[in-house]
Structure formats: structure tokens, C-alpha cells
Symmetry: C2
Subunit: 546 residues, 2 copies
């Protein structure tokens, strides 16, 4: 039996495009004499469709699309994911469904049982969990078809009481098929392969896994669809971070020992890099934009963002604006020029002094001689923000935000200033990781000037300012933040790890009292297990560790 794995980059709600991708996958599979072609979870709608699922019109378009696609499956079988209506009176109105189509006809609906409802997932908001289990039969063979999380109760996941494969195995399937939309983070790829491996081994069955690929605003899907044999050995692995289509002949399973494991090994920083580049590229492409604008400060955050954008969009499509002030150091402009020259990117230098002075003059009667403080610091950042947005509006470029996760966490950024942007590229990357990214970008040649990487970080909003004036070293800061944000440890637990109690208290207070700022930041490309944004839902008006 020949099975095709179609790993596509869908566009949420873009039915014309999604139908076209699926139809061309069916056609390609038929041309290669494939028996069954498999598409990923919620392929027809894109994942996650979020509250579009509450519109009956949207659901109807999904139903119409699958009917159209079914008719194209003459002489071939297909498994396609989409939301379907729950026909029962009770329960949530929808199912998260895989339809099994054979020879032009929808033969079976398989509904998802285990509905993730944590972090970035809201599936229980929309979907009723499935409670009945039946294998799909194709040419006399039983296939255990499951949807993403359905395989994630393999090792007594406390969240779930049932385990779909434990039910399906009684029907003696010959393969496991899993269609997924498994969002990337730099720890997830390994964990996911391990879960799939344990399923193959536990049930002693070959496994076909078809994942989403591409970015859906902040959520990144890394692909990496695969085939494992009944011992959990990887037989075939599809591309990461790009579309792919591969056909696997199940005859190969009989001599799997002779096939060498094709698994690609990634370093953590390589994964983050590739994910961010895909995230930028897809954001622009799917919104119909081609050009980015950003402010280049001379610091490492904007330099890394600019280099990633150049890789994603093409160097000629990244417009770098240098906006020095009286507090900018000499090297700020020189270092930035070095970067734009290395990458042959367009740039301009626009001083903020004229507009900043005008603001100071306009405000002078109302500031009543009060000393220079955060107001004037923010005023500089906001003047820059206005200049960038004016150019963005004039030319139709999308402004990229250059804030890193460390400063977003402690609130070291100016709302309506440097926190502006349509997309935050490195807002889920801690400052210490930003340095690793810079080194990775320079792995073959010096793209980011060395001085940008080695000089002490500074916001340059007052004379001789350094980040370390008010923050601990980033190695210490990032570790405390990681324990609090990713690991959700409390202050006592973090102090027990050896950190100073007063410092921990101060940092956690900064995180919690700056929730109001993060509420208004752009969507952040998610590369960690806990990114700011849809997966971290905090009250603003609260008093906890604050």
C-alpha cells in the first residue's frame, strides 16, 4: 500500500487557497499511484481558526469544501481534517474531525477525543470530545486514525482519562495514522518524536504522522511529518519549516532494518532561527505584504531582528531607519551602518532631535520645571515610534518590533515607542538567547558587526545609561525569568535554587506589574513553551507578588 504524507502550509479561513493545496496534493498522489493521501488536522480551515468557529457561515464553507474535495478523490482515498457539526442535541456544537474519503465518497468521520485546553490551546471552547472508536477500513486493512493530542495519553497523561489508541487497538489495526497541528517550541520537536515513538512501540504498529507547517500569526508549525516502523524507528521524515510531500510504500516496512534513520538533528538555536525566519516570512506573505521597516539602534536586538528579516523577506525588502539622539553613542550609527552594508539593505538616518525638541518646547509650560525622568526617556522612544509608523503608513511597510523577552518580561520598553510593531520577532527570545542567535547568524561570516555583540547593552535614553544600572546580569535575570515564566515556580522555590531573595522579589514584581504593557504588545512569534501572548493569560489589575 502506498501512503502519501501531504505537509502543507494552510491559511486560516482562506478556503480557496486551502482547497487548491489539498486538491493538488490529491492529484499529485493519484499520479504516483498512491492508495491513501493524508492531510493534517483542520486542513480545510487552517489551524487555529479560533472564534471563526462560532460562525455558522464559516462551518458551512468547511462543509462545502470537503464535498468539493471528496469528488476529486476518484480512484484514491484521502484523510482530511476539518471542523464538523455535532449532530447531537447535547454537547459543544462542533467536532474536530478527520474525514475518510474513498473513491469520491465521504465514508467515515473520525472525531478527536483528547482536546487540549491549556497554554495556547482552546479546543474545549469549541469542540465536543469524541467517545466512540472505530478504525477506518481501506482495502481490507484496518487503520487507527487519530488526531494530534489523541496520541498524547501514551504515558498516563494526568489530563486525560481515556486513551483512544487503547480503544482502537482491539480492532486490530495495521497502522496508526495521526493528523496533527502541533505548534513548535524549541523543546517540542524532540518531545513529540518521543511520544510518537512510544505509541509505535506500545502498540507495535507502524505510524504515519502528518503535521501542519507554517506560521499562523504567532503560532509556528515546524512540520517534520514522519513514518515510523512498528519498533518506533523513523523510516521517513519530511522537511522542517517548509512544505513537503512524500510517498511511502508500506512494503518498505518489511525490510526496515536496511533503511537508515533519516532524522534531521537540530541545535536549539538553529531551530529558533529557522522558526523565526519562517514566522516573519509567513506573516508578510499571508497578509499580502512584502516590505518591512524597523528602527536600528546599534544594539543587538534590532540587529538580530533586521538580519532575520533580511533572510525571510530578501535584503532589499528590509528598510532600516537609524534615529540617533543626543544620547546616542558614536558607535551606534557606525555599527548599524556596518550591518546594513553587510546585508546590502536600504537605510536612512533621521535624527529625532528636531521633533523631540518640539515636544519638549510644547510641553515645557506643563512640565513646570520638573526634573528629566521617565517622561523624557519615553518621549525619545515615542518620537522614534512615530517616525517609523509615519514611514510605515506612507509606504505600506510593516513595522517589525525588536523587543526581546527579557525586557518584555520586566517592562523595560516604552509603550507606543519601541514596543510598536505589527509583529514581534524576538519577543519570545531571552536576551542571552539573542546573543546566541547573533553568533549563529554570524556562523559563516560577520553579518552582525562584532562590536554590536560585545558592547554592553544600553537603551541610550539618558547619558551613559547601561542595562546593568538597574537590572542584574542577563544570565541571572534570564534564569529567574525562565523559572518563573516557563516553569511557573514561586518566589520561595526560585530562592531555594540559590538566587538572592530581594532580587527575586524585585524581578517577579516587575514581571507582574508590567502585565498592562504586555497586553498592548504586538503578537510575538512563539518559540518557547511559554510565550507572552495567547498562551499566558494574566489579570492586569491584581496584587500577587506585586
Amino acid at each position: 500500500m502506498k501512503i502519501a504524507l501531504a505537509q502543507c502550509n494552510y491559511h486560516i479561513g482562506n478556503f480557496a487557497s486551502n482547497i487548491e493545496k489539498i486538491a493538488s496534493g490529491i492529484e499529485k498522489a493519484r499520479n504516483q499511484k498512491v492508495d491513501l493521501v493524508v492531510f493534517s488536522e483542520l486542513a480545510i480551515s487552517g489551524y487555529p481558526p479560533r472564534d471563526f468557529l462560532e460562525f455558522d457561515d464559516f462551518i458551512q464553507q468547511c462543509q462545502d469544501a470537503v464535498q468539493t474535495l471528496a469528488q476529486q478523490c476518484k480512484g484514491i482515498a484521502a484523510i482530511i481534517g476539518l471542523p464538523t457539526r455535532n449532530p447531537n442535541e447535547k454537547g459543544k456544537p462542533l467536532y474536530n474531525t478527520a474525514v475518510f474519503i474513498e473513491n469520491g465518497e465521504i465514508k467515515q468521520h473520525i472525531h478527536k477525543s483528547l482536546l487540549p485546553n491549556y497554554d495556547i490551546f482552546d479546543e474545549y471552547r469549541y469542540f465536543e470530545p469524541n467517545k466512540s472508536f472505530e478504525c477506518v477500513n481501506l482495502k481490507g486493512k484496518n487503520l487507527a486514525v487519530t488526531i494530534c493530542e489523541d496520541l498524547w495519553n501514551v504515558q498516563d497523561n494526568p489530563l486525560y482519562i481515556i486513551n483512544p489508541m487503547d480503544e482502537l487497538i482491539s480492532q486490530n489495526p495495521e497502522f496508526i495514522i495521526n493528523i496533527a497541528a502541533s505548534p513548535f517550541n524549541y523543546q517540542q520537536t524532540k518531545i513529540r518524536k518521543d511520544v510518537l515513538h512510544r505509541n509505535a512501540v506500545k502498540y507495535a504498529l507502524p505510524l504515519f504522522y502528518v503535521n501542519h507547517v507554517g506560521a499562523q500569526t504567532e503560532l509556528l508549525f515546524d512540520g517534520g511529518s514522519l513514518v515510523m516502523d512498528a519498533q518506533g524507528k523513523t523510516m521517513l521524515e519530511l522537511a522542517y519549516f517548509e512544505e513537503d510531500f512524500q510517498v511511502f510504500d508500506t512494503d518498505q516496512l518489511s525490510n526496515s532494518k536496511e533503511i537508515s534513520d533519516p532524522s534531521r538533528e537540530f541545535s536549539e538555536i538553529e531551530m529558533i532561527h529557522d522558526a523565526l525566519v519562517m514566522g516573519i516570512r509567513n506573516y508578510f506573505k499571508k497578509l499580502g505584504f512584502s516590505k518591512a521597516i524597523l528602527g536600528l539602534s546599534g544594539g543587538i536586538d534590532s540587529a538580530v531582528t533586521s538580519a532575520l528579516a533580511a533572510e525571510a523577506l530578501g535584503h532589499e525588502n528590509v528598510y532600516n531607519v537609524l534615529m540617533p539622539s543626543r544620547f546616542s553613542s558614536d558607535h551606534s550609527v557606525d555599527d548599524s551602518i556596518g550591518l546594513v552594508e553587510n546585508l546590502r539593505m536600504p537605510h536612512d538616518i533621521i535624527s529625532i532631535e528636531h521633533a523631540f525638541n518640539a515636544f519638549e518646547e510644547s510641553l515645557q509650560p506643563y512640565f513646570k520645571g520638573l526634573p528629566f525622568n521617565i517622561a523624557e526617556e519615553n518621549l525619545q522612544a515615542r518620537t522614534r515610534g512615530v517616525l517609523l509608523m509615519a514611514l510605515s503608513n506612507k509606504y505600506g511597510y510593516i513595522l517589525l518590533n525588536t523587543s526581546n523577552k527579557s525586557e518584555a518580561a520586566v517592562g523595560y520598553g516604552t509603550l507606543y515607542g519601541d514596543m510598536n510593531g505589527g509583529l514581534s520577532v524576538i519577543g519570545d527570545v531571552y536576551k542571552t538567547q539573542v546573543f546566541h542567535l547573533a553568533r549563529y547568524i554570524n556562523r559563516n561570516a560577520e553579518i552582525i558587526p562584532e562590536n554590536i555583540i560585545t558592547k554592553p547593552p544600553s537603551a541610550e535614553l539618558r547619558p551613559d545609561q547601561k542595562d546593568t544600572d538597574s537590572l542584574p546580569d542577563y544570565e541571572v535575570l534570564d534564569e529567574i525569568l525562565y523559572q518563573y515564566i516557563e516553569q511557573r515556580l514561586g518566589p520561595n522555590e526560585i530562592v531555594k535554587m540559590g538566587f538572592d531573595a530581594a532580587l527575586v522579589k524585585r524581578i517577579l514584581k516587575l514581571v507582574n506589574t508590567n502585565e498592562y504593557k504586555r497586553y498592548q504588545t504586538p503578537p510575538i512569534l512563539r518559540v518557547s513553551t511559554k510565550a507572552f501572548g495567547m498562551g499566558r493569560r494574566m489579570p492586569i489589575v491584581a496584587k500577587y507578588l506585586s
Copy 2:
């Protein structure tokens, strides 16, 4: 038996304050020889604690608090809501619990069964649903204790399969007690009373209902705790939009016919008004701020926002900044002055011309002679935004956002300009409702100058601009928006209601393509069944009706 209803305004994560409020309620009840004092859902943590629930430290503080409070219940019983740990290996890690305390001892844990997971609710993200049912016994009487949504399956709610009261009724309770955190919207108060009425009637039992009151960032809780007799007649009703504490002697139930129904009747606009005033007041108080700043344009949105703020914070605490430009009409400043004089609010007039000109001059070489367009329009709004934020930073005032729901929906607002603010006051109020609010504010005297209400709305960002240049009349626009946003109708269904097909298509496209703007707006006080913010979760990068 004497039962006290303690309707308190809790502060999320502020254990010291919440414990103090509960302890003083217990003390007050004991002084009045009360048998049982009832506090609302998740009283100890505040509602909704959101992802603080994922911190074990936070849960431990809740457990410590309830132990402290239990010891204060000598000679009295209490019911108090808090999150508790699920001791079972399987399921979500927490329960949403009401503890029953009697004479200093925690006697029973009652867990919530029906967990709302729609709109602004995420309870299934944290809590395991309860599946076992037992009445509380107090002095020989069985009490059916339920938590909020537990009573909402009275009329075959399709979302839920079980109905806790159907289970508890077999134990012959004498009363129903429900502790709640039921977020306000202008349709909810009536619906909620109807649901409570139907429970009392269906089970032929008196009902004690204790609700949250106060604002938790965008969520508003209206209070209105009550006692109904076994026929569903309201015997006692607590205050709306403020704290209250009342004792009810169950002996009164025997002659309920002699007690006149104390229910307060509200008009829709009165409810919205009172809710918004509470929302502003609580936002400032709980964050520890006293003064607001806002930009007064001469239009109705900022005028209504300013008047509401004056009522919430005191007229002396609302700093109004008038920022005219070359495009401002003569009446803009005069009308604004009329308002600030009527309410005796501080104000200043700061022209944007100086800073705006400086931006134009700085940008002139880069704008390359391109015509005046959205870039220059936004530049004016952003110059105003920068001035307001500079004053906000200098003086520690919170900036109030003045956008209405109609313009937020279609994206008629400038990011980092007039969309700035710590809190959006009328962002869930359609323009047509803003006019009603203005009339309501003027019900006893002209506070908002008549000309502000009657002149045609304009952004005044280019010569002779009017909102109707590019939008339909607000009566038409708001009705289309309501059908799409609140009712979730699709384009075909809205057109069938009699609206022009091309107009409907254009409006829905504006709504969907402006999701990126709303992603970065401040939290919006929620008064409708579907507000922008946490209860409406939309993809940004999508192509549906867009």
C-alpha cells in the same frame, strides 16, 4: 435560621485584602447572631485569577487563607469560594470549590460541576468538573450548595449533560445556595434573575444567591445578590455595582406574600452607565492611582468618557487636554471648554502644530513629495498620543482611551495615537449607544454641551472631514456590527435582514482586516454579550470575509 449574604469587591491575588473583607463579614454576621454567612465564588483569590492558578505558590496562599478564616468561624458557619487542589491522579489539577466551615472547622468541600469555557470564560483550562453530589448539613437542615454555572442547566442548556440540582434534590434540601462570579453585561442581569427564578420554581425551594461585585480589569460584576422564596419571588435584593451585606431570617419565608418585591428596575443605559463608572473607579483604586488624563477633542466620545471619569474619580482628578490642529473646527475647543467648566475639571490647551510641523520637516526628505494621506492623518493622532503619554508619565496619571466600539470594530482609529490608554472606557459601547449615554449623563442638567451631541461626528484629521464620508450612518453601521459581532451572523444572513450586500461585505471586511489593531488596544470595560478583548479570540493572519 439567619443567613447573611456578603457581597464583596475582591482584588485578584490580594490575599491580605480579601482575607480582611471576609473576616470582617464573618465578624459582622456573628454580631448579628447569624447562623450561616455566605461569600461568593473564588472569594479568596478574586475572580478570575486566570493563569495565577498555574502557580502552586498561589494555590498554597489560598489554602493558607482558608485555614486562617476557618479559625475565625467560632460559633458560626460560613461558605467561602476558593480554588483547591484535585487530590486525584487524573484530571485537571484544581477544583473550583466552596468550602463549608462550621464552628472553626472545614467540614466539607463542594466542587463546581458545570465549568463555563466560552466567551470570557476559561474554567476548563484549570478546573476538573465535579461529578459527586452531597448536600451540606447545617443544624439538621440540608442545603444544596452550588457554584454559579451549576444552576445554568435548568432549561436543557445544550452545553451540559449533568444538572447538579437534579442530583442534589434527591437529598431533600431545604434551600438552594449559589455562590457566583457572574460577569455583567446589559442583558445579563435580567437573564440571570430569570435563571434563578426557574431554579426556585423547578425545585420548589428558597434560593440564596451571592454574587461578586466590582471590576476586575475589563470584567464588571454587578452584584445584585438576592433571596427568592420557593415560588421564585424575590424577597431581598442586595445593591448593584457596590458592596453590600444583608441578613435574611428564613422565618420570613413563611409569610412571603406580605413582603413586597424589592427588585430594582434598571434601564439598559442606566446599567451601562453605572457599570462603566464602577469599572473606571475600581481600575484606578485597585492599581493605586487616583488621577486620569485624557484628550478632549470636542467630539462626543471623549466628552462622555470625561464625564464618566469625573463621576468615578471626582471632577478634580480628571485632567483634560485639548490639542487642536489646523484642521480643528472653531467649536472643538469651545465645546470642550464648556464641558470642563460644567464639571469644574482641570484642563490645558496644547497645540499639536509645533510638534506636527517638526515631524513633517524631519520626514519631508523621506516622504519624497508624496501626497497627504493616511500617514499625515495618523501623524496628528500620534502627536496627540505622545503629548498625552508624556504628561501621563510626568505626573503619574493614567491615560483613558476614548474610542467607541463602532470605530474599534471598523478600525477607524490610529494605533499608538488615539488608540492609546491604560483603559478603554467606552470601547464596548456602540456610537449610537454613546449618544444615549450622553443624554443620560445630561438627564438632570446640561453637563455635555448640546452642540457636542448634535454636531456631525468628525475625526478632524483633514479639511471638512466627516465620519459619514466613508462610513454609513451609525444606525446602519451599528446594526450590521451588532449582528456580526454579538449575534455572529454571516454575511448572507445579515443581507437577508435587508442590508445592502456590498455594504455588508465592506463592513465585515473592515472588521476582520482590523483585528491586528484591536490586538494592541487597551483592556475594554465589558458591557455587552461580546466585547473586543479576552472574550473574542480571532486570528490576525487570516482570510475570511476579508
